[in-house]
Subunit: 370 residues, 2 copies
């Protein structure tokens, strides 16, 4: 029994079809197979994990499943963003085919964002789609990538360029798994938590300003509150716009810049959350230059990322290199870049066109001097 | 103007979302860009074709589009089923990324089933989904693969193992493109046409018995009638069951056997339609042994395939090899193979379990003696 468990629902209805699903958040959920069982159409699952997370949590999960008569096969991948590619995806396909996994065999992602994105895309495309469950074990995955159905892989020419929208049947976020998360990764996850406050909820942002020290120190109550509120905000947005035709793109605050940083540095050198932190500072600087927010807002934003121990200065590259990488962004339309900007803390908007001169000034201001 | 054009609609509604689309069938439609324009969200498209079809029809299509102010990029792939794989898919991704194709850039498949399946899967997964149009140029693609949204690629361990359900915005079946189709490919397409009569429409089957000579001789009216009726039957079935939870699987008559033949021979040695023809004879033989149809029915089925110049004898392999390949079928559930059987000519059903002995006898009866 776990009295502290909380559940957020992602509501996705279209006509007769109901693809809504619960996100369960709390301590010690990994062994609570009763959360998982109702979502498994077959007494066989394939668990995809990596060489870091596997040794920590795989045996616990498999034993719990076995106790309920669920057989599992194990697919362990190398760890890291630089493995989120077609070759690693093919390792999953090969294992599924070799083990004769079927249309009703559920794929379970046990790990961080890379495992979730890879496994989700494999689930979306293996036999044209099999059931999928997310068990995120990093803060970033618990508050962001496991919710909302974005799956995919990187291409040498750009991040997340190949993928699908494919929703899980259930998400199980066990905050106990964060105990083994390195500090740097915890902080990277906090970048996305701050983002939710910035784009949608000034009160949550203020709560984060007051509780950042507790979060960084892994206070369990503070973490569970941050995870729950982040999931609620993401669930609301995804329910309103599953395929990113409109409001969902606001979740990309800082990501056009951030993806360019990740790509320029080489995937995995900066963590995604670190690149997003610096990218949000750039988006905030751009918003200030467009007179949407003022210097004081910008300073508050800088301060909260600093408090979280996240980078607030972008790595130095030629502006043209940034431009060229930002033009790979999926929001580009008719060759024009579009950015998510802040109207104020707690409210984001999509830009139409931004003058190149202002963009260049923003890049120069935000880059490290050397 | 084209007075003889006919339009079949695939009705796909789910709630507010309407993914229904038209299939336009007739002569000389390739240059009629008014059929295409309403479905293009951007004045830029990427046309995917192959080295056989490109030289015949690409210039005509591009010139017609240009006349309407639509810019197009060209992606020409090698021809053949053995290229329906991850490497060729990656050629499409690379070209789309290199040319900065965006979320609103439409992908147009100009070619047969392989081009349609590859391009559709690229459209389903590039930037998590871009608009897609099918211009099928083989009979097989016009009556089958271009309709219904099945897309995908082969894996060394099995055919069509990786893919997605992804619907086109419009299908344009120009029967003039069949003029350049080799005889062998025309006959392969007729296998799927016969299948529609067998599973769903005894009157259409009888019409085919009477008109097979005209079809094989490429009588334009006979061809257009066969294409239209085939598309109508497929559209009805897809509308009822888009993701193959039930009735749609009846379209797989002969395909469990057929896929095993294709795989055992090596992809591309037998054409898909040829393997399906022999596979349908095997399914019919199995149905007879299960006392669902009688010897007279079986003889009629053999005769119509023979009239179409299609193989009615399966290649010789060990039964165990057939079993092992058939177990890769996507219909396998809990390790049990399931088959589409005939109750009578014009009515198909899904089998539950078939005794191994009857299956073995069926294989032995249907295989070539040497």
């Amino acid at each position: 029994m776990n009295n502290s468990m909380q559940t957020v629902r992602v509501e996705l209805h279209s006509g007769d079809e109901d693809r809504s699903y619960p996100i369960h958040i709390g301590k010690g959920l990994l062994a609570q197979t009763d959360l998982l069982l109702p979502h498994l159409p077959q007494k066989r699952v394939a668990i995809v994990t990596n060489t870091t997370v596997g040794p920590l949590y795989l045996a616990l999960l498999r034993t719990a499943l076995e106790g309920q008569g669920i057989a599992s096969i194990e697919i362990t991948l190398p760890d890291g963003e630089d493995h989120k590619n077609g070759q690693t995806l093919n390792l999953i396909y090969e294992a599924l085919l070799a083990q004769r996994c079927e249309r009703k065999t559920t794929l379970i992602a046990l790990g961080g964002g890379v495992i979730g994105d890879l496994t989700g895309f494999a689930a979306a495309t293996y036999l044209r789609g099999v059931p999928f469950v997310q068990i995120p074990t990093t803060l970033l995955a618990q508050v962001d990538s496991s919710v909302g159905g974005k799956t995919g892989i990187n291409h040498p020419l750009g991040k997340n360029m190949i993928g699908a929208f494919y929703q899980p049947r259930v998400v199980i976020a066990d905050s106990d798994t964060l105990n083994t998360l390195p500090d740097r990764e915890l902080r990277a996850g906090i970048a996305e938590v701050i983002k939710y406050g910035l784009i949608r909820d000034v009160q949550f942002f203020e709560w984060l300003e007051l509780n950042m020290i507790r979060l960084v120190a892994r206070d369990p109550d503070a973490l569970n509150t941050a995870i729950r509120r982040s999931c609620e905000i993401k669930a609301e947005i995804v329910a309103a716009d599953e395929r990113e035709g409109g409001v969902r793109s606001l979740l990309n605050l800082g990501h056009t810049f951030g993806h360019a940083i990740e790509n320029a540095m080489g995937y995995g050198v900066w963590l995604h959350g670190e690149a997003v932190a610096a990218g949000i500072i750039m988006a905030a600087e751009l918003s200030r230059r467009l007179k949407l927010i003022n210097e004081y807002d910008l300073e508050r934003i800088r301060r909260i990322f600093q408090l979280a121990g996240l980078p607030i200065v972008a790595p130095k590259f030629l502006s043209e290199d940034y431009f060229s990488l930002m033009k790979l962004d999926k929001k580009v339309e008719e060759g024009r870049m579009r950015f998510i900007l802040l109207n104020k803390i707690g409210k984001a908007m999509m830009s139409h066109e931004v003058p190149t001169s202002i963009l260049t000034e923003t890049l120069v201001t935000c880059m490290a001097n050397e």
